[in-house]
């Protein structure tokens, strides 16, 4: 059991170091996924199977898909296909594949040999976690839901074309009065526009 822990910890550290030293964003994402998978294995063997599942689903699933979407969105155009071909060079996948196979062997070993002596005194079941989450931590759940709603609204506003257009307009027309009229008409955009305009004015004023 200890050797499994040390192996997956070593895989996590090595893959994180390799992630930081990659120059390509997609390669780094590959190693980051590997690091998250090894952390999930560490969760599993330290008596937290629910946390391991969440780590897999949310981190290695949802957040990584978001990263990959953004990486792909940033590379629109003709050179995207050539770049993608260079990203998918054969031989790039050898390092992650070796470490993922180490993790797969560990998981198979854990599933086949029911651990007699565990690393921890007892496994914390998902039911206990749920009772604790919706019992004494109820206010935290509400706060997390508000945080996620704020993140949703903020991401929508930052990513929308309308906000970008109004910002470009205020960049092109440095006349303050018209921009202020626009800002008063749409108070939701006002604060962001003000910040951006202040920054641009200062930079254009300074040589």
């Amino acid at each position: 059991m200890n050797s499994v822990f040390y192996l997956s910890a070593a895989v996590a550290i090595v893959s994180t170091v390799l992630m930081l030293t990659r120059l390509n964003a997609v390669h780094a994402l590959l190693y980051l996924i590997l690091s998250l998978l090894s952390v999930a294995v560490i969760f599993y063997i330290s008596g937290a199977p629910f946390a391991a599942g969440l780590e897999l689903i949310i981190y290695a699933g949802a957040i990584m898909v978001l990263f990959i979407f953004v990486v792909m969105l940033l590379n629109l155009g003709d050179r995207a296909s050539a770049q993608e071909r260079s990203w998918l060079k054969p031989g790039m996948w050898v390092g992650p594949a070796i470490m993922v196979s180490i993790l797969a062997v560990e998981v198979a070993y854990l599933l086949l040999h029911e651990p007699s002596q565990s690393l921890v005194p007892r496994v914390i079941a998902p039911k206990v976690v749920g009772i604790a989450l919706f019992g004494p931590y109820m206010i935290g759940v509400e706060l997390a839901s508000m945080l996620l709603t704020a993140a949703l609204v903020g991401a929508y506003h930052l990513g929308s074309r309308h906000a970008e257009k109004s910002e470009l307009r205020s960049l092109r027309q440095p006349a303050k009065k018209e921009a202020h009229d626009v800002d008063f008409a749409q108070p939701g955009i006002a604060s962001g526009d003000d910040l951006v305009r202040v920054g641009n004015g200062r930079s254009s004023g300074a040589p």
Binding site: M19, L32, V129, A132, L133, A155, L158
Partner: protein, 89 residues
């Protein structure tokens, strides 16, 4: 601990905004690992509850951060954070 240190080093060393976001992910992940390890040490479910909160925070952070990355790229055509240092006095 080592993972957190690596994330900090990545945050300081890299100048690419995408790598900075990934380093922040690594740091949050290390914090969650510390919580789960502490919860397993005392046999309490509180560590996993904290991990769930950290997951929610990481999801919110990464959505806002990636929207900002898209915005920055459209404006400056670059992902270098030094390109966006106009606010410097």
């Amino acid at each position: 601990m080592i993972l957190f240190a690596l994330g900090t080093v990545g945050l300081l060393v890299r100048r690419d905004l995408l790598f900075i976001l990934m380093s922040i992910e690594v740091m949050l992940n290390a914090a969650g690992l510390a919580f789960v390890a502490a919860g397993a040490r005392w046999g309490q479910p509180d560590g996993q509850v904290m991990l769930i909160f950290i997951l929610a925070t990481a999801a919110a952070e990464v959505s806002i951060g990636l929207a900002l990355v898209l915005r920055l790229y459209r404006q400056y055509k670059s992902l270098d954070v030094d390109a966006a240092s106009e606010m410097r006095g």
